[in-house]
């Protein structure tokens, strides 16, 4: 037994022996690899048609500059205000939605009776499935005038703060309204995820906190929130990604201004959103503008990809047992 070479480790690989099995695994593998094909195709074809716009406008100018004019000579296609608008509206929407979503999740998970909790859960999950076009319809038909009124009151009461000032005294089709609509749309999404996280928390931890003399609020703030924070942040970022790509929900309640950035005057009827840009210009667009629209789509895809990747990473770290 002395100075033997360590026995060679046999790598045990089970290879399918029957033809039927070979076919089975081959088909499965092909399906799996089709994801590669799909993502590659998306990137390829988009870039193919979008490239002329990147080239003629200059990548940096295209993404960060302002102005969108198909009739001028030379044509100007810069998506800066649109991209900023998407981010701004999504950010405000998420900021508004998060407290509401956490509240309702806390209520369902820790305050409601079991029956009420079940009913509320079904409602919240169902609301998460409402198509965005229906939200858009509600946004225009029902909510917009009300929200405009709120905007007006805000500007009257707090107009000295720049963010609430409004020089044109028109309150419809503003980023404020768009943000509110986005918030309404994503509250169920965040609430679904948060409620799931709350209800899957280790009850032993909470019992331990109660046995130590914790009160409802102190347990929520010092035990529940910190433990759930990773998953919540991940869910929020996912909602952020969804909000940025949202099209029809806000298309009718936002006025697009291409030529200048509306940095913070959210009550004024001037804003931007990349997806709305595409929808707005698509039908009239000729070749060069089409290329620019495709380029805008590429940029949007990349941005949402980044946000979603960060989100998945955070969710994974926070809940290692959820392999999604």
């Amino acid at each position: 037994m002395s100075n033997d070479v360590a026995p060679k480790r046999l790598k045990l690989v089970s290879k399918p022996s029957r033809t039927a099995d070979k076919v089975f695994f081959a088909v499965a593998k092909a399906a799996g690899y089709s994801s590669f094909v799909l993502v590659a195709a998306i990137l390829f074809f988009l870039m193919l048609r979008a490239w002329p716009a990147f080239e003629s406008q200059g990548v940096v100018n295209f993404i960060f500059g302002a102005g969108w004019n198909s009739t001028s000579d030379p044509q100007v296609f810069h998506m800066g205000p649109m991209l900023y608008g998407s981010l701004l509206i999504a950010a405000i929407g998420v900021a508004l939605a998060v407290p509401m979503a956490i509240s309702i999740s806390y209520f369902i998970a820790f305050m409601a009776t079991e029956r009420l909790a079940k009913v509320a859960t079904v409602i919240v999950d169902l609301l998460a499935a409402i198509p965005s076009v229906v939200i858009g319809l509600w946004g225009l038909g029902v909510f917009s005038p009300v929200a405009a009124e709120w905007g007006r009151m805000l500007s009257e009461a707090l107009g000295f703060i720049p963010i609430f000032s409004n020089a044109v005294d028109i309150f419809l089709r503003s980023p404020f309204i768009a943000s509110l609509v986005i918030a309404v749309m994503i509250v169920p999404i965040i609430a679904s995820i948060t409620r799931e996280i709350f209800s899957q928390m280790d009850q032993e931890i909470i019992k331990g906190a109660m046995a130590l003399g914790g009160t409802r609020e102190s347990i929520f703030r010092k035990v529940i929130l910190p433990t759930a924070s990773g998953g919540i942040v991940g869910g929020v970022l996912l909602a952020l990604g969804r909000a940025m790509g949202e099209t029809v929900a806000i298309f009718f309640v936002l006025n697009l201004t291409f030529d200048e950035f509306n940095w913070f005057k959210i009550l004024e009827p001037s804003g931007g959103a990349v997806a709305s840009l595409v929808l707005a210009r698509f039908n009239e667009a000729l070749q060069t503008e089409l290329s620019a629209l495709l380029a805008a789509g590429v940029v949007l895809f990349v941005v949402t990809l980044i946000v979603n990747t960060i989100a998945s990473y955070i969710v994974d770290k926070a809940q290692p047992w959820r392999k999604l």
Binding site: D21, A41, I42, W150, G245
Partner: protein
């Protein structure tokens, strides 16, 4: 030997439920007083509802909540009282807004809904035609056809992908999962742009129903494969191993044991996937012309779906058009609701799910 020593539960067997006098008083006062003050101020001073709500009701309710907590339980009760107020306020606000969405769709939609709305199309409708003529029949049909084609393509693809992720030992699985994650975040308008850039710009096809179906594939695939993968995973490995130990080849073990066990999960996956794409608008606008007539041919001519129908009339914006939009929205919501309820029923009968939280 029977149970002879049990006593029936007396009426007052949960003494903690009888809140002490202090707590009861505090709860009553804190629940009613702020609302009373609010209503008085709102009506009496003719204030705008929302403004009064935020500037009068909320601060007063918070103060009362804090006081109620303090009065009942001392200093540490203050935060509890505030938490309760904040939670209920926000939850109610959310529910009211979302309830408004549902309520609007139901009430406005019901006004437009009539039997002929379901089956007629809009061939002869102009902007001024009243609601008695025309309907969304063509859109309903279009939704069914386009969603149907996408489902027929994506479900096998998604389930096969799930099989790939659970049954094979391929090294690329991690990357595939990441790609599916990426696809899950694909903005729907970009999906439309993709098909447009790939097939339509080149002249390979024009804007027809089939293109719309293809644009929906990358949107449906991540949902189906994720839910299907989860349900395949939930099938206990002992089942599969049992089949293999009996000498079954892998594919037989899968089709005869694993798949039937995951059946309800797969059904859930399909229903959720369909619910996801049936409400999509942007990709369809880019890839299919919105028609006013009934067209069952996905390879030629435009086709309307419920979401694009809604979009169309929303765009027109006049009162009658909006009513048509509401009607279609109600139909769409009913479809989504049925799919969703179906998915919940399916998942509730799932075999071998994660055990429920045990109450000790």
């Amino acid at each position: 030997m029977t149970d002879t020593l049990s006593m029936p539960r007396p009426k007052n067997a949960a003494p903690w439920v009888n809140l002490g006098g202090r707590v009861r008083l505090a709860s009553w006062v804190a629940s009613i007083a702020p609302s009373a003050i609010f209503v008085a101020a709102w009506l009496g001073l003719q204030l705008d509802f929302m403004a009064a709500l935020l500037t009068i009701f909320l601060p007063i309710q918070l103060a009362f909540g804090a006081w109620a907590g303090f009065y009942s339980y001392g200093r540490k009760g203050v935060n509890d009282g505030l938490l309760v107020v904040v939670t209920i306020f926000f939850s109610t606000f959310v529910l009211v807004l979302l309830g408004s969405v549902l309520w609007s769709v139901i009430s406005e939609g019901a006004a437009a809904l009539s039997p002929h709305f379901i089956y007629q199309n809009n061939r002869y409708i102009t902007g001024t035609t009243g609601l008695e003529l025309g309907g969304a029949g063509h859109a309903i049909l279009g939704s069914i056809i386009i969603t149907g084609i996408t489902t027929l393509i994506t479900v096998p693809l998604g389930v096969a992908t799930a099989v790939y992720l659970t049954e094979t030992r391929d090294g690329a699985r991690g990357i595939v999962r990441t790609l599916l994650q990426a696809l899950a975040g694909l903005p729907s308008v970009v999906a439309g742009l993709f098909i447009y850039s790939m097939l339509i710009v080149s002249g390979w096809s024009s804007q027809v129903g089939l293109m719309a179906s293809l644009a929906l594939i990358p949107l449906m695939l991540p949902t189906i494969s994720r839910v299907a993968e989860e349900s395949l995973r939930l099938v206990p490995t002992e089942l599969r191993n049992g089949a293999l130990a009996l000498g079954a080849p892998s594919y037989k073990a899968f089709f005869m044991v694993t798949l039937p066990a995951a059946k309800t999960g797969i059904v859930t996956a399909i229903l959720l996937g369909v619910a996801r794409i049936i409400g999509e608008t942007a990709p369809l606008i880019l890839t299919a012309v919105i028609a006013n007539e009934t067209n069952v041919n996905p390879t030629a001519g435009g086709m309307a779906t419920l979401p694009t129908y809604i979009y169309n009339f929303l765009y027109l914006g006049d009162a009658t058009s909006l009513q048509r939009a509401w009607g279609a929205a109600l139909v769409l919501l009913i479809f989504v609701g049925i799919l969703f309820v179906g998915a919940r029923i399916a998942s509730a009968t799932r075999v071998g799910t994660k055990p429920k939280r045990r109450k000790k």
